[in-house]
Symmetry: C2
Subunit: 381 residues, 2 copies
């Protein structure tokens, strides 16, 4: 029993590796972040007039200096949002979660959003990838971002290799202040780590200072992102003031679990991941094969009920797909009572997903024509 | 005696540190390069129809694959020249030495020349420098390059932070193949080295592949450069073929010694360095204070003669300032015989230098208007 407990505590969370059963509360302790508590949730609701299900459900559950950003906002000072995506493949539905939230934040606070697509990172950290591939995925991913309905006037998407002229001077300032010991300690690098990967964190730091640089005034930045990205910004925060910028603030989300019930949804495990480009039949197949909390037989499930807490279908709803808290808890209750079987429950999700994907794919198609409105190359500046 | 011998052998040559009394033959052994021997000198003379005093005098004394470049040239295939400068300050006369040679090579072989100005490097490796300073020095240095009369049609100067859009994808390909062990072994880095410096060698490698990338065909590159820069390109050569490019070839020069008679001329030791922006009175003062091979008194010197081999004045002539071998050896002979004293000998150099600087400064002024003809920003491409 002891041994099982211990093994359950074992997990790894870095920007490039998420393994094991993550204890999110322990991660707060380990990373030294703060909980998004009731007081902070109430404050956000007071400030913007409503809340978001991802805050209510504790999906965005940890932060650094979010209270400072709210102070600034209430003092009438603007801030900027910054988030990103590593283009290792097509966008999956799990990726949309923080983007949908970022859009809500942008709408509510009426702020600029800077969206980084790190084709360089995915090239450097995946040995077999080519820059042509990661750049091409970055463009594909950009269509998904645009399809979510972001305002082109306030939303600035950039691909690292295209926008490097603006990023590089900032990255140099960061890179001069971080040494190998620093990145070794935070990312677990060793002597066999390639020198591109060693420098890379400076490129991910650069956009924290981009709004201040572009506007030529101090603009605080808030980064909604997966908790796995925190190590980068911990380093950024350590050196920000020494190079003359404000520390970035963060709001961290838990990682959407994969359809096989473990780890985080990953574009590199296509069988357990719903992509935004998937057809109806892909959705049917993947959901049919998804891990659930069901019993061995329909009879037993009707008698003893299922376990929605470990169910990937329930997780999809909870994390991304069902804004209505009541619907989520109703289905969980019915599952526990043996009132609904996995087949029926999966059918509901399949229909929701297919409806969503059909609309998204239409908007994604339209987004192809809008890329120029959103993409910053740095050339115009 | 043994001890003295041993201490005389102690010297350090890296791209960022040149200390001690350099044994250039030992360096060939240590770095694993090849001597520019009589056979190769004859071959160059055969190919281009003349020789250059810097080759004759063994100033360009070591190489990697220069014979391969000559093979290519004789087969009717083009190659490109690549050299560079770290803009840590104003250009000094010692810097002009390899540039003058590069111009001769360009003229004789009728090839393109790519000239890198590494404002990023000088920012990363000098703690107190700012990017604004190193970028501004890069522009100042560019004027000196242009003032030497390079052909704008075939000469492409670029400043790293301006041209990074073209360099970064190539640097990523290099940076993915070099790990911390590799750069540690070659440059002596340790855990306290900043991550920008760790990555930097990839940026200096990038231009080796730029001609091939810009022209979309395999173009071999020959790099005339100081022997202290060899460690960068040793790494480049190790990985070039694995990333689909030709290995760069090199032709190494000895480092012009400083006016105090030791180390290499350095912009960070202004008192012992003649800058291209110096006035006549600066030249007089610096040459007056220069280290010579003279005796304690005029009388003794007339009797015993001076030692031109250790004389900074003689070195200036030998390395940069006097193309005519006979004039150089005549003055050295007269010195040894006590036939000429330091004052008179310095006077000749002062006049030569002032005449050169006056012309150079005029052409440098004209170069201000020509910067656009030479500088590549990468934006036009």
């Amino acid at each position: 029993m002891q041994e099982k407990d211990r093994s359950e505590d074992e997990f790894t969370v870095t920007p490039w590796e998420v393994e094991g059963d993550i204890d999110y509360e322990k991660l707060i302790e380990k990373f030294g972040t703060e909980s998004v508590d009731e007081e902070l949730l109430d404050r956000i609701e007071d400030v913007v007039g409503e809340t978001h299900f991802m805050l209510r459900r504790g999906i965005f559950y940890s932060h650094r200096d979010l209270d400072r950003i709210l102070d600034e906002y209430e003092d009438g000072n603007r801030f900027a949002l910054y988030t990103g995506r590593g283009p290792s493949g097509h966008t999956h539905v799990g990726h949309l979660m923080p983007w949908i939230f970022a859009k809500w934040m942008q709408d509510k606070f009426d702020v600029e959003l800077y969206f980084q697509l790190t084709d360089d990172e995915k090239f450097l950290f995946n040995f077999d990838s080519t820059l042509e591939e990661t750049h091409s995925y970055a463009l594909e991913n950009a269509k998904d971002i645009i399809a979510l309905g972001f305002d082109p006037e306030k939303t600035h998407i950039f691909i690292d290799t295209d926008f490097i002229h603006e990023l590089y001077p900032l990255a140099l300032k960061v890179g001069k202040r971080l040494n190998f010991s620093n990145v070794k300690a935070v990312f677990g690098f060793d002597n066999s780590t390639n020198v591109g990967s060693i420098f890379y964190t400076a490129i991910q730091s650069a956009p924290c200072f981009l709004p201040s640089e572009l506007e030529d005034e101090d603009i605080p930045v808030l980064i909604p992102c997966g908790i796995d990205q925190d190590p980068h910004f911990r380093l950024t925060r350590d050196i920000a003031e020494t190079i003359g910028y404000l520390k970035p603030a963060l709001l961290h989300n838990k990682l959407a679990p994969s359809l096989d019930g473990s780890g985080k949804m990953s574009a590199s495990r296509p069988k357990t991941t719903i992509f935004t480009t998937d057809e109806g039949e892909d959705v049917d197949r993947k959901i049919n094969e998804a891990f659930t909390g069901g019993r061995v037989s329909a009879e037993e499930q009707r008698k003893k009920g299922g376990d929605p807490d470990i169910c990937a279908i329930q997780n999809y709803r909870y994390f991304i797909f069902e804004e209505d808290d009541e619907k989520v808890s109703d289905l969980a209750e019915r599952c526990k009572e043996g009132d609904i079987l996995c087949g029926e429950c999966k059918q509901i999700l399949k229909e929701n997903l297919k409806e969503f994907l059909s609309k998204h794919q239409k908007r994604r198609k339209e987004a192809e024509e809008k890329l120029d409105q959103f993409l910053m190359s740095g050339y115009e500046d």
